[in-house]
């Protein structure tokens, strides 16, 4: 399980994810790819009803919005919570579609009961296992987090949390805290025999008796690099394909033009053009 150079051991998250780290993280295309693929797998495990409707989702530990953008690409509406002001600032500069909140997951979610269709979290929740200061008692923080998560999900909804546990104790600590809060479900471990591709997903369900989804790569295989099946809802897919603003330069031009159009139409708040404007947000396979 353990990477020896775990960022979780370096400093508390709001310190570790400083401006420098936030920028590096978001500009690294390898990182973007990994986070996108993890989010796509989390969405698959989230198993939202296949009714073509956009859903309201939470992205817990949303960071600079890499995971959230995959939700947007699939047509969903999301709210993102994160403890790092620097990560959120990058998210906001990149004009992600989700609503952003500065928040510590260990304080419990500030969301009213039964209001959310599903939650994902990509590479964040293991941070709650850290005891950075004596006040940050991990068990208490995990309990508050899972109880409030359970409460804010609507009936039949799921939460899928991709985590990097430091060891088996941490994996058990997170899973147990979730079960004690009332969730059913458990840990799905993809590619358990591969050091490189092994990934942990805590799949949590509110009510219902659905079986835990099947992990990938149980036969000792490695992930295939081909794209998974992608599901889009709302108008997103058709819209993205229309308009012939295919290559990078012309796409930026198109966005800058569209923003200018909005400014002249009197929209007061079109974001200023920046180096992020029209930047490629994710790799398509």
């Amino acid at each position: 399980m353990g990477r020896t150079d775990r960022p979780e051991n370096a400093a508390p998250p709001e310190i570790f994810y400083n401006e420098e780290e936030a920028r590096k993280y978001t500009e690294n295309s390898r990182m973007v790819n990994i986070q996108t693929q993890l989010t796509e797998r989390a969405l698959e495990l989230l198993a939202l009803p296949d009714d073509g409707e956009p859903k309201l989702l939470l992205d817990l530990g949303c960071g600079s919005g890499l995971s959230g953008e995959t939700l947007t690409d699939r047509g969903h509406i999301w709210m993102g919570l994160d403890i790092s002001p620097a990560m959120l600032e990058v998210a906001s500069d990149r004009e992600v579609e989700g609503d952003l909140c500065l928040h510590d997951l260990g304080h419990g979610l500030p969301i009213r009961p039964g209001s959310i269709d599903g939650a994902i979290s990509i590479s964040a929740v293991q941070w709650l296992c850290n005891a950075d200061t004596s006040a940050n008692e991990p068990r208490r923080r995990l309990r508050r987090f899972f109880e409030s998560l359970y409460a804010c999900l609507s009936k039949g909804a799921r939460a899928v949390l991709q985590v990097y546990p430091a060891n088996t104790d941490q994996a058990a600590m997170m899973t147990n805290a979730a079960m004690r809060a009332g969730f059913s479900g458990g840990l799905v471990v993809d590619f358990p025999h591969s050091t490189r591709a092994k990934k942990y997903f805590l799949v949590l369900m509110v009510g219902g008796t659905a079986a835990l989804p099947q992990a990938k790569g149980l036969d000792g295989g490695e992930p295939d690099e081909e794209g998974q099946q992608e599901v889009y809802v709302g108008h997103r897919k058709t819209k993205r394909r229309k308009g012939g603003h295919g290559d990078k330069a012309s796409q930026r031009d198109w966005i800058v033009r569209k923003k200018q159009q909005q400014r002249t139409r009197g929209y007061t708040s079109v974001k200023p053009d920046s180096k992020y404007t029209g930047r490629k947000r994710k790799d398509r396979f």
Binding site: G52, E53, P54, K55, L56, G75, I77, M79, L81, I83, L88, E89, S92, E97, D99, L100, C101, L102, H103, D104, H107, G108, L109, P110, I111, R112, G114, S115, I116, A135, R144, S148, C152, S154, V233, G234, H235, K239, Q262, Y267, T268, S269, V270
Partner: protein, 122 residues
């Protein structure tokens, strides 16, 4: 922060019972056009606390939302457009969210509410 987000937020300070809705103090409000998704609006409507949305919208300078609403109105395009605009196009950029029970202020800056608690609040 859009009013959809506001409608779902509640104060999470330990021991607070009536932490909803957070009162909006608006200093700077922005309007940004976004995709109109009637399917999403119909889906989310039953979960919206209408009075909270209406009051929040008024605090943000949008005061054309009807006082009472019903499922039937979701067939009415002009209502859906109003609902869409208030819920998803009006952003609180600067200001504060105030807990109705404790009066605790959560500052909103550059569109991001600061919902971090002090140790004695959690």
């Amino acid at each position: 922060m859009r009013l959809l987000c506001h409608n779902m937020l509640q104060c999470h300070i330990k021991g607070v019972v009536n932490g909803y809705p957070l009162k909006i103090e608006a200093e700077k409000v922005e309007t940004r056009e976004t995709d109109y998704e009637p399917d999403f609006l119909r889906h989310i409507f039953p979960r919206i606390q209408w009075d909270a949305l209406r009051e929040a919208a008024a605090a943000m300078g949008v005061d054309d939302l009807p006082e009472s609403v019903s499922e039937e109105m979701l067939e009415d395009e002009s209502f859906l457009k109003q609902f869409h605009h208030a819920l998803l196009e009006v952003h609180l950029e600067q200001g504060a969210l105030v807990c109705p029970e404790t009066g605790r202020k959560f500052v909103v800056s550059d569109g991001i509410p600061n919902l971090l608690l002090r140790e004695d609040e959690c």
